[in-house]
Point group: C2
Chain length 431, copies 2
């Protein structure tokens, strides 16, 4: 993986970072690297995530799914319990005969339709919740079980569980004799893509788990005490520095459809890890070239509050555009779609630079397991180093608890003062 | 449609708008309403969009697709030529036997896979480009035609064109005798959902076009000279006022899966219309309840730079959660998924309010044609009134031209100085 921060320099963009400021920042990166390396060595909470490529046992995951030969895998999870699996399978599905679906929301219309459409007798369910009590996940799992029952399908023969040491899902797995995998210790959900949490559907689809983990290990091997020697640190440090200089929004814009969900995964990683203490850069999800016809006007001519991160693979498959004799289209004929997409990529970078708007280019080798594993790992590293520079608790997410208590209280799941606040809402309704 | 701005008042949130400031703003809204009403009466460029519900001829669209009985409709278009159709069909597909797909990007892997998977002999193509020269759209259309040829399918029997008065697509339609619809005059792409541009796939799927247009007309009838009397003005004016007070990000967060693409459509509308002259609020796309496990940490505890817009239908279909005797889950059993989702919706609002973060609630009656038509229309009105308040040219998008020229130049489509800038890129590569 390589990161090009040339268009984020103060000589090119406003906001931008000057060369000498970058050197100063590099000293702080060296300190942060020490803390990260120590945290990894001690397997400290959160930092342990960066040991996953070394620790995750691909063979154990393969064994857990051995014997299943499904048409579809259904992940039942939410947030970090679903986004890693969605991202990996979307990026690497290729021509797998197995389809991956996720129930990561509790919309009754959507859940009903998906369960009506799925071939339930040929579907394996992967239910993921560390606590085993996540409301959305467990509600959906109860609904899925009943749908399988109603269809005459034995759900207990078609369910794999990934959960913590204790809790309702663990008990269920033991009672029913379900294949059960452990959520790794010390790893927040949003950092768990390269573990049991993110890899089970990929395993069933025939994705190269060893390749993904090898990519992660290459990222770990590339950690160094200078941002000039480590692309992940370069990205995290520059994103932080630009936020400090006014780029409060980070638009993550891959130029490849297979990374559309990656932008969502990144958005969770960035928002939940860094959005603290009144600070944190807001991730915006975009997709090139499509969003050139949607967001680029704003990125180029709106407020100077954005860093645009463009991502692409160096290699793409072929898909030739046929020759044409239509006058205005002759220049397209005989080109390849990938050439067109790359031209748009470079044009967007240059368009931003011409308006002195900062961008960073991330390039991976190809849309293969090793490159995608490296990308995910390096973005986690980038997030961790940014957290060190901001000085926040990167690995917690305290602000989501309030709403969980309120929702539980509203549903009669206990006495929570948060639920009372809901009834006191101030209204000013226009209709 | 109703809009509740209670949680955006200064008494509840920071940033927020005070009651007297709101009254002052209302005087500016009255002036803006005069300009909008005049623009509509004169069919001025852009304002003409707000006359679409009155002008669009649903019967003409129904006739153009009459005789087709496809399994799938494939929209070939990009930006405003695709997002309206995607939004409408996703929201209202219901149990239609016809599937809608869109080629709105030029990713070779994605295009190849989609064309391999589609039943081409049972697919109708709807190709949309006002100029008939949009690079991505025409490249994709050339590829689709060839794939149909290769599959022994006569593309000219299965293609509907929506385009402007002249250009390559218009000529093609005339040469080949294809059904051809007109892109309406004076309507930018992002405002064209309720026209030929957005309604053709919906028509083939059996969506109630008259209902959609009736919803739009209800929005037009609700236009009034005060934000207190017009929910669309209330939304647009409050979003503007909060941006002026520091809420530079507007997180659009529907609590219904069927409006996931609506958030993208809104993001284009907002970004491309208002992102000008160094200003404009940045739209962020979110989805409830899923993004509570991703973005809420940032929204509640990050910078005070966000307005969160939550959207829901007042009615949802039933999907009961089965009873369970698992101790920690008993409170969920016997509830409905929709009840859970609504509890999460209200909990998120309250959670933001408890942290004095502004939110606005938009509620539509149901996920039906009339309510969705009203929602789209009212958001367009909100955008137009916000543009009046910002004092920008709401209906143009000059900042996207530079990149188009650069890309065209790179592909050998003519001499463009923008293409030369690409080669001059400043590099600082870390690998």
């Amino acid at each position: 993986m390589q990161v090009d921060i040339g268009n984020a320099l103060a000589s090119e963009a406003d906001p931008g970072i000057g060369r000498s400021d970058l050197d100063d920042l590099d000293e702080r990166v060296a300190d942060a690297h020490d803390r990260i390396a120590r945290g990894m060595a001690d397997d400290d909470f959160g930092y342990a995530s960066l040991n996953l490529p070394e620790r995750t046992d691909a063979a154990e995951i393969e064994r857990a799914v051995d014997g299943f030969d499904p048409e579809a895998v259904l992940t039942v999870g939410i947030g970090g319990s679903a986004l890693g699996a969605i991202t990996i399978t979307e990026a690497l599905a290729g021509d797998s005969p197995v389809d991956h679906y996720a129930l990561d929301n509790v919309d009754p219309a959507h859940v009903t339709r998906l369960l009506d459409d799925l071939p339930l007798a040929e579907t394996v369910v992967h239910v993921v919740s560390r606590s085993g009590t996540t409301a959305e996940t467990l509600a959906n799992f109860l609904v899925v079980r009943e749908a399988m029952d109603a269809a005459g399908v034995d759900w207990s023969e078609r369910t794999v569980v990934t959960t913590g040491e204790a809790g309702p899902l663990r008990e269920l797995a033991e009672t029913e004799g379900l294949p059960a995998l452990d959520v790794p210790e010390g790893v927040p959900g949003r950092f768990s893509a390269l573990s049991t949490v993110g890899l089970v559907p990929a395993a069933m689809m025939g994705v190269d788990l060893e390749g993904l983990l090898a990519g992660g290990r290459a990222g770990a091997d590339a950690l160094a005490d200078s941002l000039y020697d480590c692309p992940a640190y370069a990205y995290g440090a520059v994103a932080y520095a630009l936020d400090e200089r006014g780029a409060s929004v980070n638009a993550m814009m891959p130029y490849v459809e297979g990374l559309e969900s990656f932008a969502e995964w990144f958005a969770q990683l960035w928002a939940e890890s860094l959005g603290k203490d009144g600070g944190g850069q807001t991730p915006a999800r975009a997709l090139g070239a499509t969003d050139q016809h949607s967001q680029l006007q704003l990125y180029r001519a709106g407020p100077r509050d954005k860093l645009v991160t463009v991502v692409r693979p160096a290699e793409r498959p072929d898909c030739a555009i046929p020759e044409t004799d239509v006058a205005d289209l002759e220049y397209l004929g005989g080109q390849d779609l990938g050439t067109l997409l790359d031209a748009e990529f470079e044009a967007t970078e240059a368009s931003l630079a011409a308006a002195e708007r900062p961008s960073v280019r991330i390039e991976i080798d190809a849309m293969d397991a090793e490159s995608v594993g490296r990308l995910l790992y390096d973005m986690e590293v980038a997030c961790v180093v940014a957290g060190e520079l901001y000085g926040v608790e990167t690995f917690d997410q305290p602000a989501v608890e309030w709403g969980k208590n309120a929702a539980r209280g509203l549903l009669g799941g206990g006495d929570f003062e948060e639920a009372e606040a809901v009834a006191e809402k101030t209204e000013l309704v226009v209709e």
